[in-house]
């Protein structure tokens, strides 16, 4: 399972890159957080507000083991701008997967 935290503006590019690798199916959610980028300063009526948590998109993809490295590479390339704040990728292993409609288990459920 690959969890990628990326800029919201890069979600479409990541999706396109993964679909091109024939990785179909992903879950995207809006999340907030901070890393090295820290927050940003906003001004309203001349008053400054520091917004500590910035909006990111969390992409969840489960792929079969053989595709993990290519998927990571595709996500990295698609989501990179080179500036601080491009995000992170985490990889875990998944015990099993079940397709609710059919009850299929394992790789065939992906």
């Amino acid at each position: 399972m690959i969890t990628a935290l990326v800029r919201p503006s890069k979600v479409d590019a990541v999706k396109t890159a993964l679909v091109a690798l024939d990785i179909v199916g992903m879950t995207v959610s809006d999340v907030r957080g901070f890393g090295r980028q820290k927050g940003q300063v906003e001004r309203y009526r001349g008053n400054e507000f520091t917004v500590d948590f910035l909006l990111k998109s969390k992409i969840l993809v489960v792929v079969d083991d053989a595709k993990v490295e290519t998927a990571i590479q595709a996500i990295t390339e698609a989501a990179r701008t080179g500036e601080i704040g491009d995000g992170k990728i985490f990889v875990n292993s998944v015990e099993t997967a079940i397709r609710i409609r059919t009850g299929d288990r394992g790789d065939s459920a992906l």
Binding site: E42, R43, Y44, R45, G46, N47, F49, V51
Partner: protein, 483 residues
């Protein structure tokens, strides 16, 4: 036209009606006829039906002019829309857990004050039963005697608007004025306390202020001070601003303030609200001309001042912080609109632009000072409406054109200008502003202290943290589980 002293002592007619009178009686030179016109105003306000017969005979029958009445009806609809507009304007600034409560503090008053105005508020402001320069009377309660059975009769001979359209138009002002106050005390005030505060404040502060400035009372051109206020710089904006300042001081700051300040939760709401306010302000200022033919003039000064205010605020930000902001554009426009309100029919176009720009500058500085001294007037109600209204009222004194302040309608004010020029009028405006600060400030404090004896003015800290949308109304504005 020479000034003819028409009234004496504190018992004076409604000055606002008097603008209509000009149009109808422009050619009537006879002092006796003029005197009769004023008597008729008293009747119209439900004062003394017995006088009607005698005065009636002296005047030509007034006509309900369709165009003028229509201006008032359109104006009423426009001003009504300002209240939901204000709800959006304020709602955008708050945290998302308090947006419904904030909007209800304005929207709800369309119900409460809407009923209250018809029942007694109008009468306290525009009746003359008490023969006092400070408060009206009880003769026009339930709109009794206002415009006959269908309300279509002119208020008096010499005035060609329907009485009902005037009462309706004034009611819309009564609704938005307490709504403006809410901005200073959102996110912690108890809705029950807000209900009672608005009810009492409207009767004891708003109606007397309307009487004193527009109803021929103490502060206006027929009273002792001679100040002029075209559409409510004193009655609406200074009054709501000062009340907001006092209320914020007595009720206290939000428990999380200023340590965890939050930026506005919905800036597009703020722009929507400011747009609706600007749109409605055409009725607020424009229809205050009370004559369709000449209403174009205050329509024009209203929008030029708002434009100048918007532009000034954005340019200040651009120079100071490097970026013009959307919230700044909305705030600058509102500041410009507040600034021109007392002078919309009294200044020339270039002066209206100057008023808009200077008001925006003054409000901008006030907002910075407020932030620096850490005073929790949460949405800058005093900083925009109080400061803007004050600057507008004083600038009206400095910039009013003599030719636009007619001796027929504004006898004392015109006399002051004749003798002391704009400096003289400035002093009159200053006195009226000072009186309003004292009267509204003290009155608001007394009402709040009185209410405090019966109920807590604010919610407890837990409820404040939970959010007032749920605590006060059992609702959530943005619930993710509603699909």
């Amino acid at each position: 036209m020479a000034f003819v002293p028409l009234v004496s002592g504190g018992f004076t007619p409604l000055t606002v009606f008097d603008r209509w009178r000009r149009r109808f009686l422009a050619g009537v030179q006879d002092p006796q006829l003029r005197r009769s016109a004023f008597v008729m105003i008293g009747i119209a306000a439900g004062l003394a039906p017995l006088m009607a017969g005698a005065a009636h005979a002296a005047l030509p029958k007034a006509v309900n002019d369709g165009a003028d009445t229509l201006l008032m009806l359109i104006g009423s609809a426009l001003v009504l829309l300002m209240t939901p507009g204000l709800a959006f304007f304020y709602g955008g600034f708050t945290r998302s857990k308090n947006v419904l409560n904030t909007m209800m503090m304005s929207f709800f008053l369309m119900g409460l004050i809407g009923v209250l105005w018809v029942v007694i508020g109008y009468s306290l402001a525009f009746d003359s039963g008490f023969k006092s320069p400070f408060i009206g009377g009880l003769g026009a309660m339930w709109m009794n005697g206002v415009g006959g059975e269908f309300g279509d009769a002119p208020l008096a001979d010499g005035f060609n608007l329907s009485a009902s359209s005037f009462a309706l138009f004034q009611g819309m002002f009564a609704i938005i004025t307490p709504a403006l106050i809410s901005g200073a005390i959102v996110e912690r005030v108890s809705f029950k306390a807000w209900f009672w505060f608005c009810l009492i404040w409207s009767l004891l502060i708003y109606s007397p202020m309307a009487k004193m400035v527009w109803g021929g009372g103490f502060l206006g051109p027929f009273g002792s001070i001679g100040a002029i206020d075209f559409a409510g710089g004193t009655v609406v904006h200074i009054a709501s601003g000062v009340a907001a300042l006092v209320a914020a001081a007595i009720i206290g700051e939000r428990s999380t303030w200023p340590n965890s300040k939050r930026p506005p939760h919905n800036v597009p709401f703020i722009l929507l609200g400011a747009g609706l306010l600007w749109f409605g302000w055409f009725g607020f200022n424009g229809a205050s001309m009370f004559a369709a033919k000449t209403a174009g003039y205050p329509f024009l000064t209203t929008t030029t001042s708002a434009s100048a205010g918007l532009l000034a605020w954005c340019l200040i930000e651009w120079f100071k912080d490097g970026k013009p902001t959307a919230v700044g554009a909305a705030t600058g426009a509102v500041a410009g609109l507040v600034g021109i309100t007392p002078g919309a029919g009294f200044v020339y176009i270039p002066q209206s632009i100057l008023i808009g720009a200077l008001t925006a500058l003054a409000c901008f500085i006030a907002v910075q000072i407020k932030a620096a001294i850490k005073f929790d007037d949460s949405l800058d109600t005093f900083m925009v409406h109080g400061v803007g209204g004050t600057v507008g009222a004083l600038l009206t004194g400095i910039l009013a054109a003599k030719s636009l302040v007619s001796a027929d309608y504004f006898p004392l004010s015109a006399k002051i200008m004749e003798e002391g020029g704009n400096a003289g009028l400035f002093i009159a405006q200053f006195k009226a502003v000072l009186f309003t600060y004292g009267f509204v400030g003290l009155g608001t404090a007394l009402i709040l202290w009185f209410l405090k004896l019966f109920m807590p003015l604010r919610v407890n800290e837990n409820d404040e943290e939970r959010g007032l949308d749920f605590v006060a109304h059992g609702e959530e504005a943005y619930d993710p589980m509603t699909n």
